[in-house]
């Protein structure tokens, strides 16, 4: 049985703050995809996942759109480009920022019980 995470749980676990959301963020997020490669995100993700990434160019919003991510979380407290935020706004893609490293972010989410893509039947 897949365990769903509420947005609040995710934000707390990642010490993250919402950068952009206008009621778009879905309350249940199924899983996490952590990657800095666009093709990997599309090849190895499930729809309605949280995307953890260090990519900050507008293309990451396109990739998240195609792969149907629920939200994009920028790690290391990286502030995305202005164009990235604009494109996210246009596509109603919620953005959050976490000060954690990719390693720590993944470690905490895993320890908190958020399943990886493969654990979901």
């Amino acid at each position: 049985m897949a365990k769903y995470f509420s947005v609040q749980d995710l934000l707390t676990t990642l010490e993250a703050e919402i950068l952009l959301d206008d009621g778009w963020i879905r309350d249940r997020i199924c899983c996490v995809c952590a990657s800095d490669l666009h093709s990997d995100i599309m090849a190895h993700s499930r729809p309605n996942s949280l995307l953890l990434t260090g990519l900050t160019t507008p293309q990451v919003i396109r990739t998240a759109e195609m792969a149907e991510m629920a939200a994009v979380c920028f790690i290391h407290g990286k502030m995305p480009h202005k164009e990235t935020i604009e494109l996210a706004r246009k596509n109603q893609m919620p953005l959050v920022i976490s000060p954690l490293s990719m390693y720590d972010a993944c470690g905490r989410l895993h320890a908190a019980g958020l399943p990886s893509r493969d654990d979901i039947s």
Binding site: G23, D36, M66, A67
Partner: protein, 347 residues
Amino acid sequence: MKKLPHIHKVQELVYELKIRDAAHETVTISPETMMSQVRQILRSKKITAAPVVGDNKLLGIVSVEDYINWVQDGGEDVPVSQRMSRDLVTLFEDEAMVDAIKDFDRYKYYEFPVLSRSSGELIGIVTRFDVIASLLKALDIDYYRKEISQYQRTNFFQETVSESTFLTFNYTVAGGEIGRGGEVASKLKKNLSYLGIHPEVIRRVAIVTYEAEMNLIIYGGGGQVKADLDCQKITVTVSDDGPGIDDVEKVMQPGFSTAPDWIRELGFGAGMGLPNIKNNSEQLSIDSKPGKGTRLKAIILWRCGRDGEPGDESETVAVPGKDGEVADETKESVGGLISDLGAGGDA
């Protein structure tokens, strides 16, 4: 604060709908009716107040409260004209619903008489319940219209009468503008979504188109993206007049890439684009020769009419195998097509 789209619709409706859309006809009482009869009239009609009308003019309203006050004052039987409320707040039938809502809020009354603006005659009465009921009805009609419109779009291919129907989307992609990569895939994705195609199919088409579009920008120097839809498949064709591919089989290997460092730094060029396209399509062919450009054709199966579900190869082409198993012939033919890639495919 979350935005609720249906709240916005209600906000529109309270300005669009008129009081007459909510008002209902009511029994009226003549001014000569005796107070002792009021209880029976209100009770039999299950109402809490009735307008008092004489000579086609609204004179007042007599409510349960007026009746109770009359009983409290001794109950001397008199015509209602002596005990009715004369200080009335009325609404005109052509006023917007929002006026009624404001007045309910302001006066705390349960109902308002509704008058014709031209004749001043009583048309009916409007209660809080009437307002809510008419809004719900309008929302329901709006929802129903949307459902119909969605149905018509989803069933475009079935409802269109011809021997074969194709829907084609054409896009031009400029070369080198990596920052615009994904615009075409995004537009195509929205169109497919508008047509009510299943999200799983859309995701596959979007990934195929996006990967091919990035290749077009990074390697091909720009070109054309075309998506052809019919009732069974979505064919994405991406062509350019760029430098072409030396060895098509080699570029299909996961991880093979000729991308320069700056492309890799942007998170592209990991050599997974074509394998991703292959994994998300039922058929893939690449026709390319050095100096002659590249033409990529990917086919994604779907079924029109069934909520735009993904296509199921086994359902249409499977033949029963030994031991009751189902042998899937299409899988083989697809495998054959992909292995033909080096020979230039069928494009």
